[in-house]
Symmetry: C2
Subunit: 258 residues, 2 copies
């Protein structure tokens, strides 16, 4: 474990931050750049989204949800320590669920159904914005290829997720007829799951990013991840709020329940 | 070589298209989806862009230019035939130039300087939109990982490039004070280089995509590539025309010549 250490202001740049200062740098990334500050979320949680905009969000964010367990499998494929793999495996269980039921992916498709979409259409991934795919795939590639400290740190956006999930649940329940405990089960369940994941991962990153270069790579990885999230909402806004839908992407009215 | 063949309308879907019909399918992707139809290009070529918008385009498209020779190296790393590698190598030469001079990358930085940017800033890649990086990196990953016919076919957007380069040269010369033979040298040179590249690659794809599945994969790869190009302009528009610049990206006034 790194003991807290005091670094003078004029320290050479390659001296690592103290554990507390490093954690503060990581948390500052969220304060500055997490997508809770994106205008699309204000619009969604404040009840200003049309149902077509909500549907577009559900379709596109499905792609992100669908890649999370693939991202976690990519990370596990790099972990030599069975103890670490056993811990990380709970994320696969949380997202994929059991053979017949459960899991965040199935819960997301209940939301899809609740907003009037055919779950099979959403699950097909057809109509997802290319920009969504590029951003999400960049995350999967990053976790597959980056140094392990950076790959682990990129999941630390979960530090900031519970607050936005709570605001989302409240905002959707207040403003949209489709919102109920069944359709919002994904978000409620994440409130139970994310804290254990992120507590483990934060401690692991704080313990294992020992050099200044490691710490900088962890901060850069978390920044990259906020860019992955932000870019998805920018693309959603440009296509479905500003009305510039690119060739081949979902158009309102398509993909409904038959 | 595939001889032209006649396929009846009720043919099973796994019968390959004739060479001519397959080529027509590839060309139709450009007619439907190439980024010559994106509103940003109408704005750029018609003289409606502000200088800040032109600068944002130059900064972001730099990232694409900078990754093209890396993409070509990735492809060459997969080519077992020395004859094919020798032919493909001319693309590296075209883009990277010699040790001291020449090459598309250096010509792009002359454009950067011409529009009032510090070439070193542009070359650093700082300020590039995350969405640009995600789209361009998706292309590099695709060429590294996709079946070879698809990887080759993804470069066939060059079939459609000369027409847009000619319109661009004319439009920029007509509307912008920065435009002259020196700053536009990149585009003029591509008019000389692209036809030989694309003639070779088109023939190679027509010869080597022998099954219907290969042909479908080639069409899908070319479609994917048009999405890579289109998504870059969507991101540019959202950030710099609509004015929603994401955290960390270039802001007008930064990166100028000192």
């Amino acid at each position: 474990m790194n003991a807290p250490m005091t670094v003078p202001d004029d320290a050479p740049v390659d001296v690592p931050d103290s554990r507390a200062a490093f954690e503060a740098r990581l948390r500052a990334v969220g304060a500055d750049r997490y997508h809770d500050k994106h205008p699309f979320h204000a619009r969604l949680h404040g009840g200003q989204c049309t149902m077509a905009e909500v549907q577009a969000w559900v379709i596109n964010r499905w792609y992100y949800q669908s890649r999370i367990p693939m991202k976690d499998a990519a990370l596990m494929s790099r972990l030599e320590d069975p103890a670490l793999r056993r811990i990380w495996r709970s994320r696969l269980e949380d997202h994929d669920g059991g053979l017949e039921a459960g899991g965040g992916i199935r819960r997301w498709l209940r939301l899809a159904e609740g907003v009037g979409l055919d779950p099979a259409y959403v699950a097909s991934g057809r109509g997802v914005l290319p920009a969504t795919r590029f951003a999400v795939d960049a995350y999967v590639h990053f976790v597959r290829e980056a140094p392990l400290v950076a790959a682990m740190a990129s999941s630390l956006t979960e530090l900031f997720a519970p607050a936005i999930h709570e605001r989302r649940i409240a905002g959707l329940l207040e403003h949209y007829a489709f919102a109920n405990p069944e359709t919002l089960a994904y978000f409620r369940q994440r409130l139970n799951e994310a804290p254990k994941d992120v507590a483990f991962t934060l401690a692991w990153v704080l313990d294992n990013a020992r050099s200044r270069a490691d710490q900088d790579a962890a901060v850069a990885a978390l920044t990259f991840k906020t860019e992955v999230l932000w870019a998805q909402l920018d693309a959603l806004w440009h296509a479905y709020v500003a009305g510039n839908i690119p060739p081949g992407a979902w158009r309102p009215g398509d993909g409904g329940r038959g």
